[in-house]
């Protein structure tokens, strides 16, 4: 079995060889940002932040996180027409991520719970979460944030 890789050019991380399985196609791009081909990069299995990195623009990459890691009661609720559009039945086989706005201090880090990114079988969609209490800027570390350990 050959493990073919593709080359990803990144201004942040240099030139990376990534497996095909890491590629995610976004038929509609990210909301307001566009881009169709991205790759999901993680330093390790349990990394707090993973990167959604454009395969088309070396500058374009967004940190994502698993929302349940920080928000245990997080829920995704899709409007019927959107669920139909992206063809997602349940989220059992779907990975759910939220974008992360990084800040100088940990207190300034937030996640967008309103527009999660769903990834299944190599296809990704950024959707509008209809669940109540899903702000666009939910602080990741509310108070007593620990020191940054970069």
């Amino acid at each position: 079995m050959t493990t073919e890789t593709i080359t990803l050019e990144s201004t942040r991380f240099g030139t990376l060889e990534i497996p095909h399985e890491a590629v995610v196609e976004f038929p509609n791009g990210l909301i307001g940002l566009g881009g169709r081909r991205y790759a999901l990069l993680a330093r390790s299995e349990d990394a707090t932040f993973v990167w959604l990195h454009s395969l088309e623009d070396p500058d374009l990459a967004l940190p994502l996180t698993n929302p349940w890691r920080f928000f245990t009661t997080f829920e995704v609720e899709l409007a019927d027409d959107e669920a139909e559009r992206i063809g997602v039945e349940g989220i059992d086989d779907t990975a759910v991520y939220v974008t992360v706005r990084a800040g100088e201090e940990l207190e300034d880090f937030s996640a967008n719970l309103r527009a999660p990114i769903l990834i299944a079988q190599g296809a990704g969609h950024q959707v509008i979460n209809q669940a109540p209490d899903a702000p666009v800027r939910a602080p990741l570390f509310a108070e007593n944030a620990p020191e940054v350990a970069a």
Binding site: G32, V100, R101, N112, A115, I128, V136, R137, P146
Partner: protein, 73 residues
């Protein structure tokens, strides 16, 4: 920007596939109906803008994000 006057029940076509219909005008509110192919996402502009802003802000993150953070309980 193209500006056209329509009455309730009248429609505007965007290309061959997207139909925008004025349903009802009431005071300062206008109800519109949008008929678009399933592949075309439709957003309220203010929400679209808020998400776009967050995506752009996220894309400004530097490569050295903190690792192995303790998780908020």
């Amino acid at each position: 920007m193209l500006i056209i006057t329509r009455r309730p029940g009248e429609k505007v076509m965007l290309g061959d596939d997207v139909v925008i219909e004025v349903i009802e005008v009431s005071g300062s509110s206008v109800r519109i109906g949008i008929d678009a192919p399933r592949s075309v996402p439709v957003y309220r502009e203010e929400l679209w803008r808020a998400v776009k802003d967050e995506n752009e802000a996220a894309a400004k993150a530097k490569a050295d994000l903190p690792q192995d953070l303790p998780v908020k309980q």
